[in-house]
Subunit: 443 residues, 2 copies
């Protein structure tokens, strides 16, 4: 054991998870987590100690931790990270107290991990103790916080079962917007990629940090909830900040040019954050809805199309993403402009059907990612877009547009929706304390 | 079209794929690729023009292109990139000339892509032409070369079919080392994750660049070969250079401490590169063998073990990866050291069974990656290690050790091998020209 102790000391000099433990320990700030049993957590104290004692820096020396605290959960109007790992869970318990305990455990773990710390920090009973079970699984040791955000949401099935029966005494708190999504034209949803009682979206610069986060939450859920589906997203296909360049999807086009940006605070307030709910639904104020759709792209078919056809379908140029009515990437499309008597932007192009101007002004904050999952058994790649959007109400901000797109969009010929989920995302945790979903469970 | 032309000009000023095209075009160096038809390619001219006219730089200003040219293929003794996408293909053609054409097309595409250029460069007939089909799929436009390497290999089934019959007139050239791997204890191989006539390993700093590479090669193969399996590896679990820190696998332990490093040139020559073959097998001189094994980890079971048990199984400390006989990460393990009458490193620990000292001195150059593929239908994550090793001969450098490990290693309790492949990796392309596998097909 002397061996192990001396190793710990050496590690303390590096600006990493393990090093931070040393720094915090030396400062005597004292983490308050009671170990693996999931005792109630005091996030303010934790945040304060880590903020002052040990700023987390990435390889370039820039602090790369995103705080989980605030009115809204992080991972929504946060500058979009390049990599994602998302997982949905089914609750296997029938005891709401176990669900609450899980939310407390998750909140604690998210607090540690988003600060670049191992789950449980240094005070866990088994850290370095050979007869204890490690609280953190360890594969992120040596990595920085990597702008990790973890965003948790609740599916409709948390509130009511398939027969509409109350599952955990929460039925009366089911938000009206947490509907069963309708069947959209062309949907080919797979059961094991659809639904879920809980969802966890982990985004980070380093995918190992995102996978580590979900894996540790899945571990905490053992005996309470099991993994229903997961998805690795290897590359972002949207921007959520004006500071970011617009990335490309697997059709080779820029995606998310018109996305809501965190700098557009008034628009985000209007189109993303739930507010004004009263009575039993008011727990969702400050929250949002997460729409998840796994969209398989038939890239082989797409790749056989002429450039002009691809651009007609999208309604934008492939090179820079300018609308076909002219201008630059960020020029607003002119749907009235005609060329040789025909609309410059086809009425059944993707941009025409999806643009706010043609959808009663509704906007979404998208955080979608490219995926590539393997072969499909027919010799083709199973690849596409894992669509994620945060909206104030899916009844106004997703269903109408998707209904229209799924029937009329030329792009639908090259797509199949194979997975789906809708989740109510509770507000964030204030620095004063608490846990994710507290207003739902205790309100 | 004026619109599109002016967009192209604006793009030329950025140091990206599209910008490079402008730079090279302006230099008048003239790419020689004849377009999508896959005309024979002159890589030296290509390399020379891109090297002098347009060094590729990543976000930090460092040139981030790895040349594909040289005695050996890149992607083996190359500093290991963080992300990987690997795919195996089945040939659907019976015409060896189509296989040769595919190798020429792939060689050309790899040459372009590893320099941060789109497939086909600027001279492709359809680039920017609305009635042409784009030669490159486009999703890597705007990204740098990202240290992309693409390494191609040939499976045993390229030479002989399941009945041992000659498939393409290459049977006499089947290398003796390209065996059918035996069934190892505990193997649970899935057919659709095993085998393949061809393999393509793409590694890059940016996973979008790696996926783009494989996707474009799969596209070129359409009608000649179909995708059999693929795997995304989100994080490296080995180092191939002394400059790199040792990363961690999903057991939370450092992995690859004892891996061959590119700086150990004599050891790499001895343990990785094939040499001295004569007669019909001499085409493989300068090449290697790629062993691929998809290793599912039962992380839920592992995570329930005490730290001391985990360390006993591995034979190293979890914190810094030091052998349990003492010292630091890179201290050589002392298998004779005893503590309280017992070996400090258990004889059935992973390090004891895998160490060169206990395997006739054989070493491997490993380039393995962590993977996380989804849920397994039983509520658990399907996650683990995609093992890749390059060896001079699998009969001496893989089969004996894996036979021993699969029977005796304590770690086997937490693992299942679910996929497998063995491929002969031909030598590289000299700067003088040629295509991958030329010595096999024309020798």
């Amino acid at each position: 054991m002397d061996q192990r102790d001396s190793e710990e000391d050496e590690q303390s000099s590096s600006p990493t998870r393990r090093g931070l433990l040393g720094a915090i320990g030396a400062g005597g700030a004292g983490l308050v987590l009671g170990g693996a049993a999931g005792a109630l957590w005091s996030p303010r104290q934790e945040a304060a100690s880590s903020d002052t004692d040990a700023p987390k820096t990435g390889a370039d020396g820039v602090i790369d931790a995103v705080s989980m605290f605030g009115e809204h959960q992080a991972g929504i109007d946060t500058e979009m990270q390049d990599r994602m790992y998302i997982a949905a869970f089914d609750l296997t318990t029938k005891d709401v107290d176990e669900v609450i305990k899980l939310m407390k455990d998750w909140s604690s773990a998210i607090g540690y991990m988003t600060q670049g710390l191992p789950v449980g920090g240094t005070s866990g009973a088994s850290d370095g103790n050979p007869v204890g079970v490690p609280i953190d699984t360890g594969e992120a040791v040596g990595l920085t916080a990597s702008h990790l955000t973890v965003t948790v949401g609740f599916g409709r099935s948390l509130f009511v079962d398939a027969q509409g029966k109350d599952r955990f005494g929460l039925k009366s708190k089911l938000p009206e917007g947490l509907i069963e999504l309708p069947h959209f034209s062309g949907d080919m949803l797979e059961k094991n990629r659809t639904g879920g009682d809980l969802v966890v979206q982990a985004c980070a610069d380093d995918p190992q940090v995102a996978v580590h986060a979900v894996r540790n939450l899945a571990r905490q859920a053992f005996g309470t909830a099991s993994v229903r589906w997961t998805q690795v997203g290897f590359g972002r296909t949207a921007s959520t900040s004006k500071k970011q360049a617009t990335p490309r999807n697997l059709f080779g086009f820029k995606d998310g040019t018109n996305n809501l940006k965190l700098e557009e605070k008034e628009l985000v307030d209007k189109h993303v954050w739930v507010s004004g709910l009263t009575g039993e639904q008011k727990w969702l104020n400050g929250g949002s809805y997460l729409v998840a759709r796994r969209i398989r792209m038939y890239i082989e078919v797409w790749d056989s199309q002429q450039l002009g056809e691809q651009e007609l379908v999208v309604g934008r140029s492939k090179s820079v993403g300018a609308p076909l009515s002219g201008g630059e990437e960020f020029t607003q499309p002119d749907f009235k402009k005609k060329v040789d008597g025909e609309p410059a932007i086809a009425v059944d192009s993707h941009v025409a059907l999806a643009h706010p101007d043609n959808n009663d002004g509704v906007q979404m904050l998208r955080r979608s990612y490219n995926y590539a999952d393997g072969a499909d058994g027919l010799g083709r790649l199973d690849a596409g877009l894992f669509f994620i959007a945060f909206v104030v109400d899916p009844r106004t901000h997703y269903v109408p547009m998707q209904s229209k797109i799924s029937k009329n969009d030329q792009m639908q010929e090259y797509l199949r929706h194979t997975g789906s989920g809708l989740f109510a995302v509770p507000r964030g945790i204030d620095a004063a304390g608490g846990y994710l979903g507290q207003e739902l469970f205790e309100g």
